[in-house]
């Protein structure tokens, strides 16, 4: 009989523990629900390098908002984030690496097709460009795009199939090659293939590539967003890196949009719109520059000319016929980049 009592006592203990856990679980679920039900929570689904900027901007926005507001952030490769929103991640606003990704969400009916015209500057509150980050003293003497295809130079760039930044890298390199070869596409193709032959690691996102280059010490040059390069420079001053501005680069524009279908459902339309409009305020534009992006407002930009050197910039719209065409030409399934990879892997 004693055996039975010890057994049941043990069972009681286990039961108690289980009930406690379940109770806690229920209360947590309840908390989660009330948090989501109120209209003062926004979800900003963004790409990789904007993490730090939006932490700061969310504070600024919360301070200026009339009622308390919490902005949640989700970050990842721009293409991956696009898929998540399409598959039901309930973003109130998206701030992605390129217009094409927002277009992809718009095509699924979640965002109105005219999203780009709803906010100033083509709905692009900040822009950046593509620069080189090299190791201290620039031991491989990398000055311009032509130096990237030299034998023995390791180039770190993410995969343009998944990363927005990588697409800007690709277009900048290709655009330069076209300029340097007087529009000869065969020569530009050969250049870009040689460039990717020098790439030892293709990460899925811009931040992954930065970590590969900065923390793990792979490669001789990182093709990066200017903001990402400046941030890496600031965060790892001790290790020693240098930013190199090539002779030509590209105007990389990461736009923002309210996700209409989600805000209508959640009743957050006004708040979400105010959140994005706030990005164009003078104060936010200064914050943009502080976090190493070039402010969209040229008046604010004037105050930061020391930080952001002027260089000739290509444009997707005028040099590549817009994102739709650029995507079809270079990054769609079976397009130029896929063919290039097939040749490299042969």
């Amino acid at each position: 009989m004693t055996d039975r009592t010890t057994l049941s006592r043990r069972w009681l203990l286990k039961g108690a523990a289980a009930t406690g856990l379940a109770g806690q679980a229920l209360s947590l679920v309840a908390c989660g629900n009330t948090g989501k039900a109120t209209a003062t929570t926004l979800l900003n689904v963004s790409y990789d390098p904007t993490r730090e900027f939006y932490v700061a901007y969310n504070k600024l926005f919360a301070a200026t908002a009339e009622s308390p507001v919490t902005v949640n952030q989700s970050h990842g490769g721009s293409g991956k984030q696009t898929t998540a929103v399409i598959e039901g991640l309930e973003a109130d606003v998206v701030s992605l690496a390129l217009a094409h990704d927002i277009d992809a969400i718009a095509e699924k009916g979640l965002i109105a097709a005219d999203w780009a015209t709803r906010l100033p500057y083509n709905s692009t509150p900040y822009y950046s460009t593509i620069v080189f980050l090299v190791r201290k003293g620039n031991p491989k003497a990398i000055k311009d795009w032509s130096d990237l295809v030299k034998p023995g130079v390791g180039v770190i760039t993410p995969n343009p199939k998944t990363s927005g930044g990588a697409r800007w890298n690709y277009l900048a390199a290709y655009g330069w090659a076209l300029k340097a070869n007087a529009g000869d596409t065969a020569k530009a193709d050969a250049y870009i293939e040689q460039l990717y032959r020098n790439v030892p690691v293709l990460d899925t996102g811009a931040r992954g590539s930065t970590t590969t280059f900065v923390q793990r010490g792979q490669g001789d040059v990182l093709l990066a967003w200017e903001n990402e390069a400046l941030l890496a420079l600031k965060d790892s001053a001790a290790e020693g890196f240098e930013v190199v501005y090539p002779s030509w680069s590209i105007r990389a524009e990461p736009p923002v949009a309210v996700v209409d279908k989600n805000v209508e459902k959640k009743g957050t339309k006004e708040l979400a719109t105010a959140y994005l409009e706030g990005l164009f305020s003078d104060e936010a534009q200064k914050l943009v520059a502080e976090y190493h992006y070039r402010p969209a407002n040229p008046e604010i930009g004037k105050g930061f000319t020391d930080k952001f050197p002027t260089l000739p910039l290509l444009s997707v719209d005028t040099d590549f016929g817009g994102w739709k065409k650029a995507h079809a030409d270079f990054f769609a399934a079976g397009a130029a980049f896929d063919k290039l990879q097939a040749r490299i892997n042969k």
Partner: protein
């Protein structure tokens, strides 16, 4: 057959093998663990503590425990039921079902995540229905839980099946003959016989549930402070150049695993006799 008791190695090859085993263990288990601790405390105790009490870190810990707290009991119940069915009854396609039970061991966790997106995502099979009824599964707690359940499904059942097969049905049949009811047989014969294997299975299941990365990464949505579990939180911090934070969170995860391990060892030590008795079955 007489079992020879282990003895201290004397011959040279035995010593070399032993040294190799110890070195290998140190290299692949101890070294990374020491590295995690060293990185976490690189800037001292204060930064370590402050990165652990960050709201995002605390929410990741809560979420991880919550997900494991739901997934593990469900898998324990399932594991007992499955093991009971497999070892006490004969039915057609049993072999096939057993192989299917092992699927989560063999398929990549990423796939275990993606299948749920394909089912419950906005464009998945049930997407339209879920949206119409405003039910959120993917990118919310239920998604994390089902992904974890799938990945850790076989742990308990796989611990129980060989044991219950070994033990056979003699004791249960005897109990039934003596007039015990079904639940009596279960609670007073079956359960006491399998409790150690069950505990072990539950501990393994818990450790895996808390550490799972791939499957939950797909269904999480990566919202800081809301849907990031501890392993995902570590990735976020690492990508933000916050290596102290990342490694501090990693020590927590390693700590949870160590607690699990110590618990298991304590149980084994405390009930060594009983355990040995059951192993002899």
């Amino acid at each position: 057959m007489k079992v020879r008791a282990p003895e201290a190695p004397k011959s040279f090859p035995a010593l070399v093998l032993l040294a190799f085993a110890v070195l290998w263990m140190a290299l692949v288990i101890l070294l990374p663990l020491v590295n995690v601790l060293a990185e976490a405390f690189k800037q001292g105790v204060q930064p370590y503590l402050s990165s652990i009490v960050q709201p995002d870190a605390l929410s990741a810990i809560r979420l991880t425990l919550l997900v494991a707290g739901i997934a593990v009991p469900l898998n324990a119940v399932f594991g007992i039921a499955a093991a009971w069915c497999f070892t006490r009854f004969d039915f057609p396609l049993k072999g096939l079902l057993l192989s299917i039970l092992d699927l989560p061991f063999t398929i990549s966790p990423v796939i275990s995540g993606i299948v749920w997106v394909l089912l419950f995502g906005a464009h998945g099979w049930f997407g339209a229905f879920l949206q119409a009824h405003d039910i959120k599964i993917i990118y919310a707690l239920p998604g994390l839980v089902i992904a974890t359940i799938l990945v850790t499904l076989p742990f308990v059942a796989r611990e129980l099946i060989p044991l219950m097969q070994d033990q056979g049905t003699d004791e249960e049949v005897a109990a039934v003959t003596l007039g015990a009811s079904g639940w009596d047989v279960f609670f007073r014969v079956t359960l006491p016989n399998i409790k150690w294997a069950l505990t072990y299975g539950v501990l393994l299941c818990t450790a895996r549930a808390m550490g799972e990365f791939g499957a939950v990464s797909v269904v999480s949505g990566h919202i800081r402070g809301l849907t990031n579990t501890l392993p995902l939180h570590i990735e976020v911090l690492y990508n933000e150049y916050d290596s102290v934070g990342a490694f501090a969170a990693a020590t927590l995860l390693a700590g949870l695993a160590l607690v699990t391990l110590v618990l298991k060892s304590l149980l084994e030590w405390r009930f060594a006799d009983e355990l040995a008795a059951h192993r002899r079955h």
